[in-house]
């Protein structure tokens, strides 16, 4: 059974019909990429899955149950975590406080402390800077904070919105290596990216979104090799 099953999802956002009846699914442990150009509706889709926007039509099934009427703050407890576009770190809180906010929906204090140490092991840079204000970190480090913070909720489905945005090439490589590591642990990941090649290289499967609709989907290798993707997104 799929962890996430989206059927005919429609979203209106800011007076625009931003998502026009898309279907997608994610199996447990899968890393799925959602690629497409600016304004294609990728972020809107992700925000709707996180509950920050409300669909005007269609169904979202998570773990066999409908998510349509579940408020955003309850979806976190169900295991859905979002790393928002532009990272959204809490600038005037320390790195450690940011990570603790990620565990807001949990109340197993002891486990939270262990998870915190695990995050520092996964991102040693953050361990060095745990008492520093998140707003004073570099873009790449902030992306690490945002990812670690999302992981602190112990998600089953991690959704990443443009993790490579505005980062130096070397940092992008690092972030993607970490995404692969997290996927290797068996977590389901939905990755939204403009950097189509990087995303498809990391993912098992991919969807291509264009002006609110999914135009192509398939295994990453196929998509990378397809003329349409090569032409539109890989600049060949």
């Amino acid at each position: 059974m799929n962890l996430l099953e989206v059927e005919h999802l429609e979203v209106n956002y800011g007076g625009i019909h931003a998502v026009k009846g898309i279907d997608l699914h994610i199996a447990p442990g899968e890393l799925v990429a959602l690629i497409g150009s600016n304004g294609a509706g990728k972020t809107t889709t992700l925000k709707t899955l996180a509950g920050l926007l409300h669909p005007s039509g269609g169904q979202i099934q998570y773990d066999g149950k409908s998510l349509n009427d579940v408020a955003a703050h309850r979806r976190v407890a169900l295991g859905i975590a979002l790393v928002p576009e532009g990272r959204g770190v809490f600038a005037r809180l320390t790195v450690a406080e940011n990570l603790l906010m990620g565990a807001y929906s949990r109340n197993d204090r002891h486990e939270i402390t262990t998870d915190l140490e695990r995050m520092y092991a996964l991102f040693p840079r953050l361990a060095e800077r745990r008492d520093q204000l998140a707003g004073t970190l570099s873009g790449g480090e902030q992306q690490m904070v945002a990812m670690a913070r999302a992981l602190m909720s112990r998600p089953r489905l991690l959704m990443l919105d443009e993790p490579s945005m505005g980062l130096a090439p070397l940092m992008v490589q690092k972030i993607f290596a970490t995404i692969r590591d997290i996927a290797a642990l068996g977590m389901s990941i939905l990755l939204v990216e403009q950097n189509a090649r990087l995303a498809l290289q990391a993912a098992n499967r991919g969807y291509v979104m264009e002006s609110g609709a999914i135009t192509l989907s398939g295994a990453s290798g196929e998509l990378l090799g397809s003329d349409a993707v090569q032409h539109a997104y890989l600049g060949r």
Partner: protein, 363 residues
Amino acid sequence: MKFNSKPKSLLVALAIALLLLPFVTDALLGRGWVRIADFAMLYIMLALGLNIVVGLAGLLDLGYIAFFAVGAYCYALTGSPHLALAFPSLLPSGVHLPFWIVLPLAALVAGGFGVLLGAPTLRLRGDYLAIVTLGFGEIIRIFLNNLNAPLNLTNGPQGISRIDPIKVADVSLNTSQEIFGIALPSVHLYFYLFLAFTALVIFISQRLEKSRIGRAWMAIREDEVAASAMGINTRNLKLLAFAMGAMFGGISGTLFAGFQGFVSPESFSLIESIMVLCMVVLGGMGNIAGVILGGVLLALLPEILRHGVVPLQQALFGKTIVDPESLRMLLFGGALIAMMLYRPAGLWPSRVRRRELDTDEAT
């Protein structure tokens, strides 16, 4: 300010100093200054309440004085002969509920008004929220000003007088008392009462700041979308911030009405809201010690000017050239501009803000 991390002896010394303060002030400066100190504590309570809304949750509120007004009128109506005017046959002598019954009720009513303001403004931030809250503060004041007809509920601009004094264990605080042979005038008694309330408000503020709720408020302040993606119910927590802040304001207002014995709408004008906001900003937004410092300074500054400017001019020029009232606003504005230029994080910034500025300089 972390009281716990400081040595106990310092805390004891501070407590003794505060307990002696009314006597020292009375002896050195006169009784009028004890009264000013009483008012300063009402302002500190207001500033700490507003700090929850603005400093922690990041919701700019320009109408905060409305909650002070709600608290004050709650006690003015239920602790004075006034309602006899509106309902002569039903309440021939007005309503005289005990202060200690009205206080929690007034806090709840003020909290309710906080939710009333919060609910329609949940989607607003920054400038837009400021405009709506400013309007709300004015609406409350104008209501109080005009609710004397057709039914005289608030007595309009004349205000409500003859409010019952606050009683502690059957002892009226409006009359001098003698305890262990020490004469305690009324202003001293109110000083100790307000000191106790201020300490309580500080204690609650500190606990809130360190709590899960406090951290959630700060997360909302920093990034609301990310906060709700963390599983924070942003709607309820914003309403809670408005309600908690309003309750502090309501408590302060109730104390004000009992202390003053008289309330009128002119005490609750926009400039008062701005004054309280200035205390929060000047002292150091989000830092309890800073907010207290801001409250003390801004409550005392006008009085110092009032008592200092005229004698100074007399000494220099032999006559009063500038009226202290007009000079007050000038100096006040100048002080605020100087603050923003030289200490943008406030006089006593929070640990976090200070570090933020340090890092800026280091890079």
